[in-house]
């Protein structure tokens, strides 16, 4: 029992830290609220969907920026998608960078775009690992009987 409480406390702390550091925002809460008996894996499903979507988009972005003449419209469209997805699950930092990425696209600033792409990739990998850790902890709690 002690271990379970410990684990639960750890989870709460970890979640709190994620919010505090700005990785996640209120939207993530909303997602968690939607999870119930009729929909037990809702959050994991949505987040997995996000990972797939994001990875695909990041690939597209890298490819588009790799072209000799950058197609800013296409770039903007992809970033817009990523922004939408990240805001839907509450990946706050990713969302923020997407906003500034869009600005760079509007200004047609290749340098800025490259920088933004680097930032968003970095943030995405961070949030991915954090969320995976979170899910692992939840699994552990479930396994321990919580």
């Amino acid at each position: 029992m002690d271990g379970l409480v410990q684990l639960q406390k750890q989870l709460v702390d970890y979640t709190a830290s994620l919010f505090h550091e700005g990785f996640l925002d209120d939207q993530f809460n909303q997602l968690q609220q939607l999870q119930d008996e009729s929909n037990p894996d809702f959050v994991v499903e949505v987040v997995t969907l996000f990972f797939e979507d994001a990875e695909r988009l990041l690939n597209e972005l890298t490819k588009t920026l790799g072209q000799p003449s950058t197609d800013f419209k296409k770039l903007d469209a992809h970033v817009h998608q990523l922004k939408g997805s990240s805001s839907s699950i509450g990946a706050h930092r990713v969302h923020r960078i997407c906003i500034s990425f869009r600005n760079s696209c509007e200004e047609q600033n290749v340098e800025g775009c490259l920088k933004n792409l680097q930032q968003v990739t970095h943030e995405y990998s961070l949030v991915k690992s954090k969320l995976e850790t979170l899910f692992r902890m939840e699994q552990q709690i479930l396994a321990a009987g919580g």
Partner: protein, 742 residues
């Protein structure tokens, strides 16, 4: 002896005397004959001679005399009787004519004499006219000199040049030895030698202004001869042998700028004169002529005018320079102000985001906390935390919206809310603070106060809280009473609020709230300053360093937006103060407890699929997979039957009359708007058409306009929480329209 008729002269013919007589007679006759000839000749020559017939008479007389004398020649010798008869005839005729002539001359000669007199008279006249001509010519010369001088003087607006030129030209025209100008000093008590003709740089001699000589000159506008011993006339070392030249002085009025009656050189208004002194050359025996004096006087007047013009010009140049400087300074100030405003806006824009993020964290975690197991006490605490943080979030929004408030672009929300519970919440929030300070709070809510009202709940709460908070802040002890009631029209005609003319109507009522405290009071003179931003009451700053001074200013703005009025009264320091405000609220026609929750409602337990929406068929159109899944999960959680579509075409294919609501993302190009139009076309009958709601993260104002333009029924902003979605759906199904304020 022979007897003949001849007459014998008495004397023998050969006598010497007779011979002489003979010759003389001959010559007389000659002369007598030639005179008329000469007369005729000259008369013919002359054009005018009025007495021709007198001449004829005279001529006849002379001719006859001549004839007589000629005939006399024959009488010296023995002559016949015929000769004697002829002689006698001639003599008789001559006698007649000469007598006639003599008589005539008596009449003629006076006339002739008067002709002479007239001639003399005319000669005199001619001489006089000559003299006058001379005079006129001199005057004309003078006039020319004056014009020339004036021209020289007025051809420049430079004071120094004007004066120098005057002296030089006067000196030249009048042939002066020395010419000087004495100007009054700044004090007005002395005259200082400012300009001279011959000396280049006059050393500053000064002469007191109230000498009798100077007064004499100043008192008349004529040029006055002065003695050369006078201090103003001692300009040059005395170099002549006999007599220094005659000196004349004239005043030069120095006009004030505002004084320009040139036809009426005011004796009274100009007090300031300068003195011009002119000296004729010594040893020249020249005297000042009248026309020269006149010249001097005229020049003096011209100089006065020219100087005034120069002074005006200087003044206007100075004014223009000043204006330019001011302009530059103003421009700088404006640019600085603009920079400051831009800096502030940038700051606000940045802080906007920075401040909201931690707020989200607090709100999020508090709501998370609510979901966990808590004791009742803990739950209460968490609720208060949540409420306070929501209030704080609103406050942050408002402070950062202050610029929008000032633009006037802030719009109040109009939702139905519970008035009584609003007051309860305010009291709950204030009670802890009040009890710490041992202040008692006494609320009085009138019995006719409606339960529900329509208005901006958050901002009304903020206003009440601010006012009550101030009462608590500035009271050290005692009690605070809060009264709220519906204001009656009679009470509106209040002397304290003269500009406030509320119009009662059936759909609105006026809420009047009065907060009375027994605290430190306010000096009545400071009351107007209370509502100005950032102005704090000086005596209280030491006790209340935390206040920013913004509260009352914001409150007033809100109250004004609610078409109301707020004022504070106090009888003085230490006598407490009363804050009152009246706001206009809508009358809620049904006891509708629903409101758009910016504050998430506190569910006791997580609600599993609200029965409200059981089986409600909705359609979600979003091309973003993640977003679509989240929205679907949200709606399913609320119990709806959700169909999804990832494009407009798919949506149009799937949609049917059974669908009640269609949520569509409008961010991606104009697909969403296009879809709305197509849906309008598809469902011609009003009741068949599903409600079309835009669900987007795009916060631009133009989005709302576009949605309304294509005939959509609503606009909701992502991200959306469960509770918000619940509220939205309810409102949508009731009201059939819902546009969130962007």
């Amino acid at each position: 002896m022979e007897f003949c008729n001849c007459i014998d002269p008495q004397m023998p013919a050969d006598d010497l005397l007779v011979k002489y007589q003979y010759i003389s007679d001959f010559f007389i006759a000659l002369a007598y004959f030639s005179i008329p000839l000469e007369l005729i000749y000259f008369v013919k020559k002359s054009a005018v001679f009025p007495y021709k017939w007198v001449l004829v008479q005279f001529g006849a007389f002379i001719v006859l005399c001549g004839a007589t004398h000629l005939i006399n020649l024959w009488t010296f010798v023995i002559h016949s009787r015929t000769v004697a008869i002829v002689m006698t005839t001639a003599k008789v005729l001559t006698a007649v004519v000469s007598c006639a002539t003599a008589l005539m001359l008596v009449h003629i000669i006076p006339d002739l004499l008067s002709v002479k007199t007239r001639e003399l008279f005319l000669k005199n006249k001619a001489a006089e006219l000559d003299r006058e001509m001379g005079l006129i010519r001199t005057q004309e010369e003078t006039g020319r000199h004056v014009r020339m001088l004036t021209h020289e003087i007025r051809s420049t607006l430079h004071r120094h040049t004007i004066l120098k030129t005057t002296l030089v030209e006067l000196g030249r025209t009048l042939g002066l030895e020395e010419c000087a100008l004495w100007m009054p000093t700044r004090t007005g008590l002395e005259l200082q030698l400012s300009y001279t003709l011959r000396q280049q740089n006059p050393v500053g001699y000064t002469v007191p202004i109230h000498l009798p000589v100077i007064d004499q000159v100043f008192s008349s506008n004529k040029a006055v001869t002065i003695s050369h011993n006078c201090p103003v006339a001692r300009l040059r070392p005395y170099a002549g042998k006999y007599m220094p030249g005659s000196v004349v002085a004239v005043r030069v009025p120095l006009l004030d700028l505002s004084n320009f009656q040139i036809y009426d050189w005011p004796e009274v208004s100009t007090r300031n004169y300068a003195l011009m002194v002119l000296m004729l050359p010594s040893d020249s025996a020249r005297q000042w002529h009248v026309h020269e004096l006149e010249l001097v006087e005229v020049v003096a007047d011209q100089v006065a005018v020219a100087l005034s013009h120069a002074a005006i010009l200087e003044e206007s140049m100075r004014a223009r320079d000043q204006l330019m400087e001011q302009n530059v300074a103003l421009d700088l100030a404006r640019r600085e102000a603009e920079t400051a405003i831009r800096a502030r806006n940038d700051f606000l824009a940045v802080m906007n985001h920075e401040m909201r993020t931690p707020m989200h964290a607090v709100i999020a975690l508090s709501s998370l906390l609510q979901e966990t197991d808590l004791t009742a006490e803990q739950r209460l605490m968490v609720e208060t935390i949540l409420k306070s943080s929501n209030l704080l979030a609103t406050l942050i929004n408002d402070v950062l919206d202050l610029s929008r408030l000032e633009d006037g672009s802030l719009q109040l929300e109009a939702t139905t809310f519970n008035l009584h519970s609003l007051f309860r919440e305010v009291l709950n929030l204030i009670k802890p603070v009040a009890s710490v300070k041992k202040l008692s709070l006494t609320p009085h809510l009138a019995s006719d106060l409606p339960m529900y009202a329509i208005g901006d709940e958050n901002r009304l709460m903020q206003t009440i809280l601010n006012v009550v908070g101030n009462a608590v802040k500035f009271s050290k002890e005692g009690c605070i009473s809060i009264t709220a009631f519906v204001a009656k029209p009679e009470s509106f005609r209040d002397a304290r609020i003269p500009d406030f003319l509320p119009v009662p109507s059936d759909s609105h009522f006026y809420l009047r709230v009065q907060v009375k405290d027994s605290g430190s009071g306010i000096n009545p003179q400071d009351i107007p300053k209370l509502f100005t931003k950032f102005a704090q009451n000086q005596s209280l700053t030491t006790r209340n360093p935390a206040g920013s001074g913004l509260g009352l200013a914001i409150c007033r703005r809100f109250v004004n937006l609610m078409e109301g009025h707020i004022w504070i009264e106090s009888e003085g320091i230490g006598k407490g103060c009363t804050a009152t405000f009246i706001v206009k609220l809508g009358i809620a026609d049904r006891s509708n407890e629903l409101k758009l929750p910016f504050v998430p409602k506190v569910p006791g337990n997580p609600v599993h699929g609200c029965t409200h929406f059981a089986g409600l068929k909705v359609l979600v159109m979003d091309d973003n997979g993640v977003s679509r899944t989240v929205t679907k999960g949200l709606l399913m959680h609320l119990g709806c039957d959700v169909t999804t579509a990832s494009s407009s075409e798919e949506c149009l294919g799937v949609v049917s009359v059974e669908h009640e609501v269609v949520f569509m993302e409008v961010c991606t190009g104009l697909d969403g708007y296009e879809l709305a139009v197509r849906l309008h076309e598809k469902f011609t009958k009003h009741q068949d058409r599903p409600l079309m709601v835009a669900l987007t993260g795009n916060t631009k104002r133009v989005t709302k306009e576009n949605c309304m333009r294509v005939g959509m029924d609503g606009l909701i902003l992502k991200p959306i929480s469960v509770d918000k979605m619940r509220g939205v759906l309810s409102e949508l199904l009731e009201r059939r329209v819902l546009f969130e304020t962007v």
